[in-house]
Symmetry: C2
């Protein structure tokens, strides 16, 4: 079994590539739920949805989020009513959130709902929310405390962050499925997701960081920083704001003590020896999953 | 000020007709919320919505419920996901429920939300939910306890009812606006809504029945039973099941002690003297609001 600590888009693409290399039944994802939100009464799990939509082949490549063949009737009407319409929810996408919210009201867990949806979509990788409890990544900024989606979507992550807190993490419990995956997997891969706001919320759930630390010989991280920048999102900006070098070496620092290996991009070959001198194994390959052959190369490196 | 105790469609049509006879600012509706439900995480208020959609001229005449120019993308997708799709929610209609659910989460009351929506739609009649607390009309049947919408929509009210309970009514509080309307209105009209499941939940909210009783000289009910049947819905069947005569006289019995007058249909003239002998004033007119002129006649009779 291979377990992938996963945020959204980067993790989704990695999982899609890994699925081509090994039996999908041997693959599971421990997914961040710190971005989850309740909006309009609906429980929305952006990372779980991004991954399952991508693995189902239903993802919207043009937008980079949400579902393909999407329509926007509800949002348009909500906007006309004067409702909160800054967080785009397509009509197809809304069906997912209605389904999940109803099932949670009926007493199902996020884990169960993820399995039900994956089954419906023919997704054969086990997607495991790190916890069934509510945790929330919040940002202290000059505009006050912002929720994840306020920071990310409303302000386009174009605002200085002073502190990141994962509310509820201390009291949350990892699911038994997650603990089992972390204990029994032959390898744990940290996806090229944002270390501070996609992976750290997973690590802050009790027992998870300790388990990853114990397994560090089998843990490999893929650097989301390539040639001094993130491909997407605010990982570079946040690393700078929190005092990390904006490089694959900074990523190695962030994961210090938790990983045995790191995969860095060919353009970052210059960092190889410095990282090796920390006692880490370094693999150099293309880490940009621009096309299937590159994604396959990265997947092979992660499994090697 | 004229106050109308209101259920859904019948009340909506009456209010639309009354608005043409008097200044809408002199008109308010105390609306049943016993049908309200939480489904897919959304708080849905069918009677409030039916009335406001109708008064806004947005109602769907073909369906008899919901909004005109409706589309069904979300429901179709939800059905394909295996979600609960027996309660039809159009895409436009969903925007209303998303708006309300978000505002309630933010701490607004149903009263505030109704005002916001009415303002947005240009509805100038004050629509007052009888309470901001949660009450729920439930049915004891051979298939167990059913919620209002399970009874009404899922089973098409084609099932024997043994008992009707308004859960939460005893602990609920009428809003100050409702108490004020009942105390100060020159007339209280009971709309031709279902006495047992649209009007009774209003009356079961503490203080409401007592206030209506005190004001009975100014209270006029419009019989929803015409020529031994209800125009729509299960009022006739339920009256029979609960031992009431299925006639305007049975309606007078149901409202015994609460009304000073009753408006009955021309086809029910035979009941006039029997009802008069109970000490009630009886007005005979057309009560079927089939076209604007008939609706206007009924409205004039209710205001006379």
């Amino acid at each position: 079994m291979i377990t992938v600590l996963s945020g959204g888009v980067g993790a989704a693409r990695l999982l899609r590539a890994l699925r081509n290399e090994i039996d999908p039944k041997e693959l599971c994802a421990v997914v961040n739920v710190g971005d989850d939100l309740v909006l309009h009464g609906l429980t929305i799990c952006p990372d779980l949805d991004t991954i399952s939509y991508t693995l189902a082949g239903l993802n919207n490549d043009e937008l980079g989020w949400g579902l393909r063949d999407e329509s926007w009737r509800v949002m348009k009407e909500l906007h006309e009513l004067g409702g909160e319409s800054w967080f785009g929810l397509g009509d197809r996408d809304l069906a997912t959130h209605l389904y999940r919210s109803q099932r949670l009201d009926e007493g199902a867990t996020k884990t169960q709902v993820a399995r039900e949806l994956c089954q419906r979509w023919g997704v054969d990788i086990d997607l495991l929310p790190v916890t069934n409890d509510t945790i929330a990544t919040v940002f202290a900024t000059e505009r006050g405390t912002l929720s994840f989606q306020e920071y990310f979507v409303k302000y386009h992550h174009d605002i200085e962050v002073r502190a990141i807190t994962i509310q509820g993490a201390t009291e949350s419990r990892p699911t038994p499925e997650v603990l089992n995956a972390l204990r029994t997997s032959s390898r744990i891969i940290i996806a090229p997701s944002n270390p501070l706001i996609s992976i750290d919320p997973i690590l802050q759930v009790p027992q998870v960081r300790e388990l990853v630390r114990e397994r560090r010989g089998d843990v490999v991280a893929i650097s989301p920083i390539i040639n001094g920048a993130a491909l997407k999102g605010p990982a570079d900006r946040l690393m700078r704001e929190f005092g990390y070098d904006v490089s694959c070496e900074g990523v190695a620092t962030f994961y210090d003590g938790l990983i045995g290996s790191i995969i860095i991009d060919e353009t970052d070959r210059a960092f190889e020896s410095a990282i090796r001198s920390r006692g880490l194994d370094v693999r150099v390959t293309t880490t940009v999953m621009a096309d299937p052959s590159h994604a396959s190369q990265l997947a092979k490196a992660a499994l090697a």
